[in-house]
Amino acid sequence: MALLEIRDLHAEVDGKEILKGINLTVEPGEVHAIMGPNGSGKSTLSYVLAGRDGYEVTGGEVIYDGKNLLDLAPEERACEGVFLAFQYPVEIPGVAGTTFLRHSVNAKRKYQGEAEFDAMEFVKFVRGKAKDLNMPDDMLKRAVNVGFSGGEKKRNETLQMAVLEPKLAILDETDSGLDIDALKLVADGVNALRAPERAMLVITHYQRLLDYVVPDKVHVLANGRIIKSGDKSLALELEEHGYAHILEAAA
């Protein structure tokens, strides 16, 4: 059974149709890359999957892990294992990263019927995770994303992902604006999560990330539709020729 099945998904924002019939099937263990020009609807798709208010589904359905994903509240989706790494991670002044992540991990543990961590247990747990990933955890002492550089914000998303161990990770341009070291760190985080029961949707502009995170499938999203799908060679083709000729071919 597919982990994620999107069928003829239509969605609008402020009364304007952005997603115009998306079809996509992701099997457990797979990594799918979604590429496409700016404004094609990539972030909209990720928000619809995560359940953001204001992104209204006007048609189609999304089956995730046998459940009707669109019926669930955002927090239920997260507790069921959906994780969105935001293109623009949100700053939350006054909330320390550790506090935020502890709430998050405990919400998930509670949902799954596991005992919640107390503050001490949690610090130990997170340290372990960060160490496994070779990732500094000093960011967690600071207020969530406040005053972080672009790269730090993306690393923070990756750390959160590693800690929450999602079944379906959606990475919305997590690679944009990263230098090569930060990019490797993010890629390592993603690769560490690759497992037969998990899947990832990697939204990216660049072939670069896909050198490290090799996708099973690549899709081109343009104007709210997937206009072409292929294997990893499609990403190389896009890198070489740009979107224009694929868009023309599709038109």
Partner: protein, 446 residues
């Protein structure tokens, strides 16, 4: 001039309140000396002005009509349960003064080991010192401050804090003012005078706690005098358990190079009104007047401040942040006066309100009066709801909507507390606030 004519026209509530004053009516006034003279002056001023009404501009947003309907009696306070007081207080390693309904309680107070050059005394014991008697009521124009006048009419007990030149308090001083009315509503009028001589340093926390019972009416006056280069951290917690009245007048006078770091945290029920007047009467003064408040139930929290830049080269900073839930109302009125002399003044004012319900209300009134030409003054006010993006980010990490809201509300108030410069007090209030919010969140605050 004590006007018998005016006394006859007193509204009943005021007459009743004044009846409870020490010495009662002027006719049978027994006490003599400086306290009695000040009391007479207070009585004259409040009798002439009457209790404030909303017709008076500074009281435009705050009504005392509910206070007028209560049959107040004098202090009493017997039977107060001090275990509940403890849970209402931040945990601090501090010297402690406890007042019950305005009366210095030497049994509950703990002033052991006060360093040399530091005096913390019940006010009556300090009245032989002319530095005290000359200062009391000298910072506040009683004719323009009716609540301070009412307090002065009751002048009887309170606390003097005096730090000699070059001396420092080695631990904070925690003044705990407890109000308790068993079955009959009780009014009381605590009085504090804090004097720091040249280059002296202290941290003073005032906790104003109202216990469960009949309503209490606390009408506090605090006067603060900072000599050159003195440094005072002056922090206040207000938390009434029932719909009572917590009214206060604070006057601060800062001389050259002194630092005043003030913060007021209001968490309780009922009507809260804080009148603060800070005079930067010196050069290179750093005056900080900050605060945070949580309105809930039907509470009403009014912070009305007046910052008077009287001399050049001084800095003031004022940040008040409020969360308003349920049917509460928050009022911030911030007047900054920069006198013609006060060149090179730096003033910053900000009021931020977070509304959690349709029935909550925030009023914000900045008022800048600037007569010097070389000044930097900024002010801002924002009133808004919780941020949708932040809420979604939290929910996308598995945190339910109510918890997400609670996290953001707590963060908003915690951030406001960051203005407190004294780290130990800031940490203690952070912890206290977190604990205080939990039952409110469980009770549906957000």
């Amino acid at each position: 001039m004590s006007g018998n004519v005016q006394e006859q026209t007193l509204e009943p509530v005021l007459e009743r309140l004044l009846d409870a004053a020490p010495g009662g009516r002027p006719a049978d006034e027994g006490a003599r000396g400086p306290l009695a003279a000040l009391r007479a002056e207070g009585r004259r001023a409040i009798a002439a002005a009457g209790l404030p009404t909303q017709k008076s501009e500074p009281w435009k947003y705050t009504s005392l009509n509910a206070l007028r309907k209560v049959e107040w009696s004098g202090p009493a306070g017997d039977g107060a349960d001090f275990d509940t007081v403890k849970s209402a207080l931040p945990v601090l390693d501090a010297y402690t003064v406890v007042l019950l309904n305005g009366r210095f309680d030497s049994v509950l107070s703990d002033l052991n080991g006060l360093p040399k050059g530091v005096r913390v005394l019940p006010l009556p014991e300090a009245m032989s010192d002319s530095a005290v008697t000359d200062t009391l009521a000298s910072l506040i124009p009683l004719d323009m401050a009716p609540m301070a006048a009412l307090n002065t009419a009751h002048l009887d007990d309170g606390v003097l804090v005096r730090i000699d030149a070059g001396k420092a308090l080695d631990k904070p001083l925690h003044i705990v003012s407890v109000g308790y009315a068993g079955s009959a509503p009780a009014a009381y009028h605590p009085r504090f005078l804090i004097q720091l001589d040249e280059n002296a340093e202290a941290t003073v926390i005032e906790s104003h706690i109202g216990l469960k019972g009949a309503p209490t009416f606390s009408n506090t006056v605090t006067e603060v005098v900072l000599a050159p280069s003195a440094r005072l951290g002056h922090y206040k917690l207000q938390d009434q358990a029932v719909d009572g009245f917590d009214l206060s007048t604070t006057a601060i006078r800062c001389s050259d190079k002194s630092v005043y770091d003030g913060f007021t945290l209001s968490l309780g029920l009922g009507t809260v009104r804080n009148d603060v007047r800070m005079t930067l009467d010196g050069e290179h003064v750093e005056g900080r007047l900050n605060g945070a408040y949580l309105g809930h139930g039907g509470s009403h929290v009014d912070n009305t401040t007046f910052i008077d830049h009287a001399k050049p080269n001084s800095t003031s900073r004022e940040v008040f942040k409020g969360v308003l839930a349920d049917e509460s109302r928050g009022v911030f009125q911030g007047k900054i006066l920069v006198r013609p002399d006060a060149q090179n003044t730096d003033g910053h004012q900000l009021n931020k309100s977070l509304l959690l319900s349709d029935k909550a209300e925030a009023d914000s009134k900045p008022e800048l009066e600037i007569y010097a030409d070389d000044v930097r003054c900024s002010h801002g006010a924002t009133i808004g709801a919780l941020d949708d993006e932040q809420l979604f980010y939290l929910r996308a990490r598995g945190i339910d909507a109510v918890t997400a809201r609670a996290i953001l509300v707590q963060a908003f108030l915690m951030e406001a507390l960051d203005e407190i410069q004294k780290a130990s007090v800031r940490d203690a209030l952070h912890e206290h606030l977190a604990a205080r919010l939990q039952p409110l969140f469980k009770g549906g605050l957000v």
